[in-house]
């Protein structure tokens, strides 16, 4: 047993230095602010800021912070508490439990559907509303009465791009399917894709399973090209899917490619570059929608991020906070009126006196407030950057518009845009 030498001076210095540097950086971070004087409600959010899903969380954080800046100061004042949910179930669980110990009115998140199945039941049992902003797998709203989502399930969005491909090439017959088998979203989506391919009378020539960690697709591409497809349908995430598109084109495939909603992100531009051109993408959010709400959202996003279009995850996260804020302010009006005696109400209405905003909610017992918020949330109709949305009583989102876009890359091949196809989506029953 060698004697344990004390660590040498440089390393003690290094350790102290590291810790010190961290302390300084932390100290410099802005403290959470609250609108002066007025009572503030807290909204918790759990997104993946670390781990391999951090690309999603990064986009979501931008959307949540934009929405907080816009709605947080309006009555009833709302403060956002953001926690890192990591990319695994355990980290998301502690993040959720941590926020549930705070007086949060509701939670937004987590980033991945697998995480949602692990953590949403905890919030549901605690009677705290959870609004999923990116969970698209089948079965999420069914977790419990307090669980709802703003991200449209795969079954709605997916078939549209195949219909669009059929319109672009009516002679279309042979379809090859790729999907990332280790991604919950992609495995759900591909089932819908395959069903709708068969429903349209097309021939499914091959199904290739890939993994989100794959980067070289030479083999599945070579196998697929032998089956001579005239449409290739991909369910994957931006990075692996983008590389797949690039390699398909480089290997000489010239037919149509339709990608699922998982690839609806400007992040694909840098991955498949000029080869993204012509890609058909099913969208639950289109930055090109010309509504007042969306134009304002895009403008605010561009003030921070330059001349780029906001990703779907950012728009959905923004919409999630917006929906909760609108529901709270509706609840605030209801509660304030309830407290006044009936004849006072009519008098107040006649004199156009407004009760102080936000007061009623802050004085409500938290469990009642959460329950009431959940009820009000599911009843409303909201005008968001995603278009008009409402909820079913179970908490499933009913989104009015879905889109199919065709990627149009600029001459440099570095960036592009999702040009909406002229034919608007048929409104779902």
């Amino acid at each position: 047993m060698p004697p344990i030498k004390p660590p040498s001076l440089p390393f003690t210095a290094l350790a102290v230095g590291l810790v010190g540097a961290c302390g300084v950086l932390v100290g410099c971070q802005p403290a959470s602010r609250s609108p002066s004087g007025s009572p503030t409600l807290t909204l918790g959010a759990v997104v993946a800021l670390t781990g391999n899903a951090s690309l999603i969380g990064q986009d979501q954080r931008v959307g949540l912070e934009l929405a907080e800046a816009e709605f947080g100061g309006r009555a009833p004042a709302l403060t956002l508490r953001l926690e890192d949910g990591g990319s695994d179930e355990q980290t998301a669980t502690t993040a959720f439990r941590r926020l549930l110990q705070q007086p949060v009115v509701a939670l937004v998140g987590p980033s991945l559907s697998q995480q949602a199945f692990a953590v949403d039941p905890i919030a549901d049992r605690a009677g705290v509303p959870v609004l999923g902003a990116s969970n698209t797998a089948i079965g999420i709203p069914e977790i419990g009465p307090f669980v709802s989502r703003i991200s449209a399930p795969v079954s709605r969005v997916a078939p549209l791009s195949i219909q669009a491909a059929k319109r672009l090439n009516p002679k279309l017959k042979r379809v090859a399917v790729f999907f990332a088998q280790d991604d919950a979203y992609s495995t759900s989506e591909t089932k819908i894709f395959q069903k709708s391919i068969q429903g349209l009378g097309l021939k499914l020539v091959t199904v290739q399973r890939t993994s989100t960690a794959d980067i070289d697709f030479q083999k599945p591409i070579a196998d697929t090209l032998q089956t001579k497809p005239d449409l290739i349908v991909i369910s994957a995430l931006p990075n692996d899917g983008g590389n797949l598109v690039r390699q398909l084109r480089e290997m000489g495939y010239t037919g149509l490619i339709a990608a699922g909603n998982g690839m609806n992100s400007p992040n694909i531009y840098s991955v498949c570059q000029r080869y993204c051109d012509g890609l058909l993408i099913a969208q639950a959010y289109s930055p090109e929608t010309q509504t007042a709400v969306n134009r304002r959202f895009v403008q605010r996003y561009q003030q921070q991020h330059g001349d780029t279009a906001p990703p779907q995850f950012t728009a959905q996260a923004y919409a999630a906070l917006q929906v909760i804020h609108e529901a709270l302010s509706r609840l605030d009006r209801q509660e304030s009126l309830k407290r006044l005696s009936p004849n006072l109400v009519s008098k107040a209405q006649k004199l156009q006196i407004q009760p102080p905003k936000g007061q009623a909610l802050v004085s409500m017992p938290l469990p009642d407030l959460r329950r009431a918020l959940n009820t009000v949330l599911l009843q409303g109709t909201y005008d968001t950057p995603l278009g008009e949305i409402r909820f079913t009583p179970e908490g499933e989102v009913i989104q009015k518009d879905f889109y199919v876009a065709r990627v149009k890359m600029d001459a440099s091949g570095k960036t592009g845009r999702f040009a909406l196809l002229p034919n608007p989506s048929p409104t779902q029953p």
């Binding site: 961290c22 355990q90 669980t93 941590r98 110990q101 199945f117 088998q181």
Partner: protein, 302 residues
Amino acid sequence: METGLLVQMLLGSLLGLSVYLPLRCGQLSLATPGFYAIGGTVAALLSTRVPALGISDATYPLTSVMLEMLLAALLTGVLALGLGRVVLRLRGIYLAIATIALVEILRVVTLNLEFTGGALGIFGIPQPFSGPEGYAALTFVVLAVVCWLCDRLEKTRPGRAMAAIRDDELAAASQGINTADTKLMAFVLSALVAGVTGVVAAHFLNSWNAKLGNFDASITTLAFVVFGGSRTWLGPVFGGLLLTALPELLRPVGDLRLIVFGAVILVGPLFFPQGLITPELFQTLRRRMGRSAAPSPQGGRP
């Protein structure tokens, strides 16, 4: 501290002990996440697909959880008995990589099979407790039992045989120790602990999927043991508690959380080359205290 985090810390300790058991006789097996995944899958399948166990009850009966544990232990034990005979001929890094290969094969197969739910996994696992306190109690009891077993093991003949094999396998064999059987016993025990831990974790996490037993988990659990110390069972217990809690305790540093965490596991071994807890540490402590106090199984500081 938050009780849910405590449960995860206790589960971490159990996984640490599962890696520690074969390491005690010098076998670097990283099969723990594989057996953990099997245990979790058994619990997830039984509790959601066998109505007789009580999925429709208001709270899932604890006896059903016990039954799942028993079945998971049986399955992982039998598997480990078969696999152990094959893989334990390998040593050192080769054994480590062979076991990693097995874990990876298991992950891919789970991902491809229909009944394990593919990438989405199995969800809606029923709850035997209404809150994390129940889980903390259950995990604590399981951990206490395993700690007690390890403690007995270290003080009795098979345990001393394990230590002898770790120090010098040839010398141990020449002293009449059946090295193959001793190593196999440690491997099977390790699998049992991981399998039972998986059952608790599946209920605690409400859902189970293929990602929960992957390469990252292998490395993390190994870190518990190496960081905590691999010469006494208290090492992995403490390592598991600390390394599971650390990223969570670092939440106040925000975006720097994992950078600081990395710095800690980088610097830790420089200060504690044999791990945080070593038998020598006990001896020193005992001498200082003037009496031999048994370490508390809770895994706090002795």
